[in-house]
């Protein structure tokens, strides 16, 4: 049996039917790590001993009826900005190099109750700020499809782990595209749910009004099943929404005849790589062939999305990261003279360049005299962008967009020009600004064999439309292939 061929749901089903054990699945992913981690470096920390022990415990639990869920026994990787009690959580930053939280993120509690096996923490851009996982303080992650290329970011480790077979499922976080874009680059499926769907308690905050934790998996059904487990109201998170429509698995009816899809014209501008555009247009064709109605329309606020996003995200980040000061936890500079020097040295030595860049920008746009012109202006722009999306969703069930303007760039290319890197987030940031759900499904490959993903965007609380459309398309698309067979071996 080739365990690598199974999706998470299939693996769990085989376990339930006693064809394989939980430990078999866990062993498999650690074997893959043996083979590929030296190259891919998706993980910052792995828990082999604990995972083996947990596998035995879950096995027992499945047999005695404790764990009855559809993903019980599945090995899952966790992005390193999600707190696990007793385990290092670094956010890929030096400033948290030795930080061990004494509490679980809410999502971790839910995973444990559902019988999943947590196998380790994945690499990311430092504090989730970046689009390539290259700003990590602990080394880069390489794209399993081609080790000279980035996996995307900031959830690059999570997506690479799934793509390399080093995990069946992963949790990522998405503030401006950090699940959707690396999913596209790594040829996996990932979804950012509606804001407030998944508790942020225990997720180290980057931009509080934009952050969401979301599932990454091999296919749409896996993501739906995982989202069901982690979604739901949490009293510890005041922005958590009470939803009673969390049965995502039953939404994959594949009935998309007559479903209306809108494509913002502005997204197909000159900045879009022609091969990505081709894959994208082919997907539109497939959808049309399945009976869906695909239309182009104008989204006038498109060119304002990135400025608004970066002002808001940096502002909130500059405040959220103030707590990293060497007083209560984490790194403290070795030498300093006095309190304020300790603050400055700790933060200057502890934070990487990109983080510092955004903290400075954020501090500036909130500062006296500029708050109105920048921060409030961005909030007003956000209102206009939201309004435009609302109007679009009156006409369309789902919006379609590329997940990124290109396939995965080569390592070392993107950090040279920060502004250019920010501009590549054009298709993803507005979704966070407006709290919308968005899913990436692999839809093609470029001439180098690098994956291309298509992004489907739903109205708030309409994950059902996304799962229905994505699953239907996925079925039509057929087997996408994995990094381990297609593309240069990692």
């Amino acid at each position: 049996m080739d365990l690598g061929a199974f999706t998470a749901l299939e693996l769990a089903e085989k376990i339930k039917q006693h064809q394989i054990s939980v430990l078999d699945g866990v062993k498999y992913v650690f074997d893959q790590m043996e083979k590929h981690e030296d190259t891919v470096h998706a993980y910052l920390d792995t828990y082999k001993k604990e995972a083996y022990a947990r596998a035995k415990e879950v096995q027992k639990g499945i047999e005695d009826g404790t764990y009855t869920g559809p993903l019980a026994g599945v090995p899952i990787a966790i992005k390193d900005n999600i707190c696990i009690k007793g385990k290092k959580t670094t956010c890929a930053s030096k400033i948290l190099e030795n930080f061990v939280p004494q509490y679980n993120a809410e999502v971790i509690d839910r995973l444990e109750k559902a019988g999943l096996v947590i196998i380790g923490k994945t690499n990311m851009d430092e504090f989730a700020m970046g689009s390539t996982t290259e700003t990590s303080a602990y080394g880069v992650t390489r794209n399993p499809w081609n080790p000279d290329h980035v996996p995307g970011g900031s959830s690059g480790g999570s997506c690479a782990a799934v793509a390399a077979g080093e995990a069946y499922l992963a949790l990522g976080s998405d503030t401006g595209g950090s699940i959707r874009q690396p999913s596209s680059y790594c040829g996996v499926t990932g979804i950012k749910p509606t804001y407030g769907t998944v508790s942020r308690y225990g997720l180290v905050a980057y931009a509080s009004s934009l952050d969401q934790i979301g599932p990454v998996g091999k296919d749409v059904a896996d993501c739906a099943a995982l989202l069901e487990i982690i979604a739901g109201h949490d009293t510890k998170d005041s922005t958590s929404i009470k939803r009673d429509d969390l049965d995502f698995s039953s939404t994959m009816t594949d009935k998309i005849v007559g479903m209306k899809f809108g494509v913002p014209k502005e997204y197909l501008s000159s900045g879009l790589d022609p091969e990505v555009k081709e894959a994208f247009m082919n997907t539109l064709k497939s959808l049309t062939e399945m009976g869906a109605i695909v239309e182009f329309f104008s989204m006038k606020t498109t060119e304002y999305m990135i400025p608004a996003y970066y002002i808001i995200a940096s502002a909130e980040a500059s405040s959220n990261l103030e707590r990293f000061d060497g007083v209560k936890y984490g790194f403290r500079a070795k030498e300093y003279e006095g309190l304020h020097d300790m603050y400055k040295k700790t933060r200057t030595e502890g934070f990487g360049e990109e983080v510092k860049r955004r903290i400075m920008l954020g501090s500036f746009v909130l500062s006296s005299g500029y708050y109105d012109a920048y921060y409030l202006k961005a909030l007003r722009t956000k209102a206009l962008i939201k309004k435009e999306f609302n109007e679009a969703f009156e006409k369309y069930d789902v919006l379609l967009a590329p997940a990124a303007p290109s396939t995965a760039p080569k390592l070392g290319e993107s950090l040279k020009d920060p502004l250019a890197m920010y501009l590549s987030d054009i298709y993803t940031v507005a979704i966070n600004l407006c709290g919308l759900p968005g899913i990436t499904v692999p839809c093609g490959k470029d001439s180098k064999g690098l994956p291309v993903g298509i992004q489907m965007i739903g109205d708030c609380f309409k994950e059902n439309n996304l799962f229905r459309a994505a699953h239907a398309y996925e079925k039509k698309r057929g087997d996408f292939g994995t990094a381990m067979e297609g593309g240069e071996k990692a």
């Binding site: 707190c83 939280p101 993120a105 922005t239 500059s318 707590r323 000061d325 909130l366 006296s368 708050y371």
Partner: protein, 479 residues
């Protein structure tokens, strides 16, 4: 010689008497060992999130209503960003743009009469932790027990003109907050803290001078001294042709002087912005009315009622209503025994004396009003002497004994046994032939001696009038 007017505004922080902190379920109880009332939220751990305590909102609304404020029925929290170790997130969650209450006013009374002090706004915020300076290692230690304790900050308009007015204003706030039960408001314990904003200007001037802010004022006396000191300092500067610098100054009550706290590390730019972790608050009309209805009779109303209903003088009404708790005990006693004037007198003399002697907190006085009412009834019916009653009351005050039972047990009850009384009188007179002779000889003062002897012999268990009567009768017989 120019005449200067002092212009004062106050920022008062009031610690709310909720059981838990404003954004987490940690206890606010005073005095725990360091960091034993903490959790990831109030220590700013990564991934922690605030959840608002409903009681804090209720207390803030009540405080605002009692101070005649308007309520912002739609309000939010904002983050105030600054680095300091007592601030675990290095931002304080407060309210700037939409404070919960605004445009209020309280009336104060000083030797110059009544005056209105306007309140600019009141808002909710979280308290910071405590910093202790360790002299041995020349470092500071941080305790986050206090971090996250709910506060309301009350910002007045610069309507005050003297330290007397400031003290009256603070007393008014303290009394109001205590009556509402939202805070015990003790300056000495830090549950009420006042920062003074002061400027001076020539009498008659319409514009305000540059103001300074003074902190570390831990008693009314310190506040008064700080006001005088700062007024003098500013006048001196102006007289010398120099300008007053807008700054924060720390008052040192031992040295009776202040020094500027500003350092160049203090950017003083708090970069307020709405806290994305906390949804806005919408306060309905119904909720406001419900809270308004739950506000008890406040001191002013109570004072007026005591003067009208119980016909007490204003002064007495004032003393009796200083503490709502004591006023409550008084009212109950008065109703039970049916003689408010007598009850008032007893409170003002005996109760207050005991409170003072024992250094007690009026809020902690706890005796059953029925017990005092019963005791006072017995005094009225002359069933116990006033002297003994005082002693018995001390027991009621300390141990809340039932005085009726106690008086019986200790045999203190005055029994009108005229036979026994006559016998005792005879005995005492017989035992003191000398004084008897003097008395019969015309020295009336000696009556006092006999009365004293008799009271002692009777162990105070006699009605003094009856004693005098019996004694007089006996003496007459001896003539």
């Amino acid at each position: 010689m120019k005449q200067y007017e002092t212009v004062i505004g106050l920022e008062v922080h009031v610690e709310l008497a909720t059981k838990t902190k404003i954004f987490c379920g940690c206890s606010t109880e005073f005095g725990g060992a360091p960091n034993t009332h903490t959790c990831p939220v109030c220590t700013g751990m990564p991934g922690s999130l605030p959840v608002l305590n409903k009681k804090v909102v209720e207390f803030a609304i009540k405080a605002g209503l009692a101070a005649n404020c308007h309520i912002h029925q739609y309000c939010k929290f904002d983050r105030k960003n600054y680095f300091y170790p007592d601030n675990p997130q290095n931002y304080q969650i407060s309210q700037l743009y939409l404070p919960i209450c605004y445009d209020g006013a309280v009336e104060i009374e000083t030797s110059a009469g009544k005056k209105t002090v306007r309140i600019h706004e009141m808002h909710m915020e979280e308290d910071a932790g405590k910093l202790i300076h360790d002299e041995w290692e020349d470092c500071s230690l941080v305790d986050y027990n206090r971090s996250g304790v709910p506060l309301i900050e009350i910002v007045s308009e610069p309507d005050m003109r003297s330290s007397e007015e400031v003290i009256a204003y603070l007393e008014k706030l303290r009394c109001t907050m205590q009556y509402l039960g939202v805070s015990d408001c003790k300056l000495q314990e830090g549950s009420m803290r006042a920062d003074v904003n002061l400027s001076v200007r020539e009498v008659g001037s319409e514009t305000f001078g540059t103001r300074t802010e003074m902190k570390n004022l831990n008693s009314f006396k310190a506040i008064a001294r700080a006001i005088e000191g700062e007024r003098e300092r500013q006048i001196e500067l102006l007289e010398e042709g120099r300008a007053v610098v807008q700054e924060t100054r720390r008052w040192d009550d031992n040295k009776e002087s202040s020094h500027a706290m500003r350092s160049k590390e203090d950017a003083k730019d708090y970069r307020y912005f709405p806290d994305p972790d906390l949804p806005p608050i919408h306060i309905s009309d119904a909720w406001i009315e419900e809270l308004r209805g739950s506000i008890p009779e406040l001191r002013e109303a109570k004072m007026e009622r005591y003067q009208k209903e119980y016909e007490l003088p204003a002064y007495d009404a004032g003393i009796l209503t200083e503490s709502r708790h004591l006023a409550g005990l008084f009212e109950e006693t008065a109703v039970l025994m049916g003689n408010p004037k007598k009850a008032a007198n007893w409170f003002m003399v005996e109760v207050l004396r005991l409170i003072k002697d024992k250094g007690l907190d009026p809020e902690k006085v706890n005796f059953t009003p029925k017990h005092l009412a019963d005791l006072l009834s017995m005094v009225e019916k002359k069933e116990v002497s006033a002297q003994n009653a005082k002693k018995v009351f001390e027991k009621v005050f300390d141990e809340d004994i039932d005085p009726v039972i106690y008086i019986e047990e200790k045999g203190l009850k005055i029994v009108e046994d005229t036979g026994f009384l006559a016998e005792t009188v005879k005995k005492i007179v017989d035992a003191n032939p000398g004084p008897l002779a003097e008395l019969l000889g015309g020295k009336d003062k000696v009556m006092g001696f006999f009365v004293g002897q008799l009271m002692r012999e009777l162990k105070g268990k006699a009605n003094p009038d009856s004693v005098r009567k019996a004694l007089t009768e006996e003496i007459e017989r001896r003539r």
